[in-house]
């Protein structure tokens, strides 16, 4: 689409902005996190499907700038298949690195992605107290 050699972000960021991965909702999400950045007004929502203590699927919706959209696209891409424990250690730096870097003023977008992800996990854990969490496991086992 673009014949432009001058872009605000690098190729990877632009690609994730133009063709976001995992954009949308999960109809029956196990955990949903929605967070906002007071500083700039961005809002990010991440929905997770969790199976066997692992992220089976992830989706995002983002109200925000190009790097916020790219960060949520990349974050959802990165965590698919990871265990809950791994995801709890997830850091925004991973998003920044995977995107090949973000401008300094845009680093907070990757932080927002980390926060949305962790909010979704929290939501999942809140909904699934130990007993309710074992139940579906038993059912599918």
């Amino acid at each position: 689409m673009s014949d432009n050699e001058y872009t605000l972000y690098n190729e990877t960021v632009m690609d994730h902005f133009m063709n976001p991965r995992n954009m949308g909702d999960l109809p029956e999400a196990d955990g949903i996190g929605e967070v906002g950045a007071a500083a700039c007004g961005d809002i990010m929502k991440i929905s997770l499907k969790i199976r066997d203590g692992k992220i089976e699927d992830a989706r995002f919706k983002t109200f925000g700038c190009g790097s916020a959209i790219a960060s949520s696209s990349m974050a959802t891409e990165l965590i698919k298949g990871r265990t809950l424990e791994e995801v709890k250690n997830f850091s925004n730096q991973e998003v920044v690195d995977a995107l090949g870097g973000l401008p300094p003023v845009k680093i907070h977008c990757s932080v927002l992605a980390e926060e949305a992800l962790k909010a979704a996990i929290e939501d999942y854990e809140k909904k699934n107290s130990l007993e309710s969490r074992t139940a579906p496991e038993a059912a599918t086992a």
Binding site: M1, S2, D3, N4, T7, L8, F17, M18, P20, M23, D25, E34, V35, G36, A37, A38, A39, C40, G41, D42, I43, M44, K45, K61, T62, F63, G64, C65, G66, A68, I69, V105
Partner: protein
């Protein structure tokens, strides 16, 4: 790919005529204006002519009333700080419009912080217009200067300068008009306006960057704010940027000649763009006055609900369309434009802000293409937006066309971010 430049308020391409006039001053007539030999004198002749062209453009009493600076910002600094410095003994209070450009606002703030000045900000109405009577009310016996822009840089509002100058003249106070967003897009006659100081930036109407103009008549004494030599009659030190001054002269002469045509053409496009956007896009709001006598002919400032500005700008750019975004995430300070706050725009609307500014080379086709692309952009971004989804689910409400269902966007944003939006 089609290329449509709709960011003429950021800068404009240099006129070929101006470039040709400048060209010899780089490599051939390169002397310094203060040199007394032929190289300096040739340049002096050229600059003299440019000063006359600029003076004619704004109907200044005399070419001596024109001071060349390095740009609109420096001209604003010189007007505000230079006048304050020269007239401090008469008083130390400044009255200004709350939607002034940062070059004016921050100059006044500097005077407050460092020179013991005080100031009164006069508010604007929801379309950004000042009430002249508020200026009258704000003037005290300490007031030496009133600062009001001619056209607002963000939302295109034309301010009632003549009514204001009647008051300032009555009160014996000097009026400074920042005309950077106006010059080249509406006729300017400093004598009819009744101001004593007025500044503008030729790069905003097909002149070169690197030069600004401060008009200053006898009634407004100023002191130089860049110290050094006695260039510009002691009012602006430093070797003159001769090629840019020459280009400024030509840009002014051609702007004066073509002004009617430019305004007619651009006004037509503005109307077409306005009609297209309003009829095709839902939940969209024009900031500032509708096209007509209260609005400059070349800009439209839009707020589109449920989406943010930078994404719009990027997608436009990917389609070859250049626009500006006033949204919070774009400027390095992450702040919403103070102009949008001043007109009381809802925070939700201040976010999705885009400024389209037209120029003489835009066509009707360009406009139709922009509207077409914009409908796609809005669809794409709303599709990605959690707020749009929540609006559909009646969890949050529209500011533009309220349904009575759900939280306000701002309440919602505050609740998810854990802090109030600023």
């Amino acid at each position: 790919m089609k290329s449509v430049y709709l960011d003429h308020q950021a800068s404009t391409p240099l006129l070929p005529e101006a470039f040709e006039a400048m060209r010899p001053y780089f490599t051939e007539a390169f002397g310094s204006l203060s040199s007394l030999h032929r190289h300096g004198l040739r340049v002096r002749d050229g600059v003299k002519k440019a000063r006359e062209q600029v003076a004619a453009f704004i109907n200044a009493e005399s070419p001596d009333d024109i001071i060349f600076t390095s740009g609109g910002t420096e001209a604003a600094n010189l007007a505000v700080k230079g006048f304050a410095d020269a007239n401090e003994r008469k008083g130390n209070h400044i009255v200004w419009c709350t939607t002034e450009h940062p070059s004016v606002m921050n100059s006044i703030e500097y005077l407050e912080k460092r020179h013991g000045f005080t100031s009164t900000r006069v508010p604007v109405n929801p379309i950004g217009q000042i009430n002249p009577e508020d200026i009258r009310a704000a003037i005290t016996d300490k007031t030496i200067l009133v600062c009001v822009h001619l056209v607002n840089h963000d939302i295109g509002t034309i301010e009632p300068i003549k009514a204001i100058s009647q008051i300032t003249q009555e009160k014996g106070v000097v009026l400074y008009v920042d005309a950077v967003a106006a010059a080249g897009w509406l006729p300017i006659d400093v004598q009819a306006l009744g101001c004593q100081l007025l500044s503008f930036s030729p790069h905003r109407f097909y002149g070169p960057k690197g030069v600004g103009v401060l008009y200053r008549n006898r009634k407004a004494r100023i002191t130089s704010q860049i110290h050094g030599g006695v260039q510009e009659n002691g009012r602006r030190a430093g070797t003159e940027n001769v090629p840019a001054i020459i280009g400024a002269g030509v840009a002014c002469e051609i702007a004066a000649r073509d002004l009617g045509d430019r305004i007619a053409h651009v006004s037509r496009l503005q109307k077409r763009l306005y009609d297209g956007m309003i009829s095709r896009i839902k939940y969209i709001k024009l900031n500032g006055p509708v096209p007509g006598p209260d609005r400059v002919c070349c800009t439209l400032n839009w707020s589109t609900e449920f989406i943010e500005g930078e994404g719009q700008l990027l997608l436009f750019d990917l389609h070859g369309i250049a626009v500006a975004s006033g949204s919070s995430c774009v400027s390095k300070s992450l702040k919403v434009s103070h102009v949008l706050s001043a007109i009381g725009l809802d925070h939700a609307l201040a976010q999705g802000n885009i400024i389209m500014s037209l120029g003489k080379d835009n066509t009707g086709d360009d406009i139709d293409y922009v509207v077409e692309i914009f409908t796609k952009i809005v669809d794409k971004l709303r599709n990605m937006s959690p707020m749009w989804q929540e609006f559909q689910e009646h969890k949050i409400d529209s500011v533009i066309s309220p349904t009575g269902h759900g939280q306000s966007f701002t309440e919602r944003a505050a609740s998810v971010s854990g802090k109030a939006a600023h």
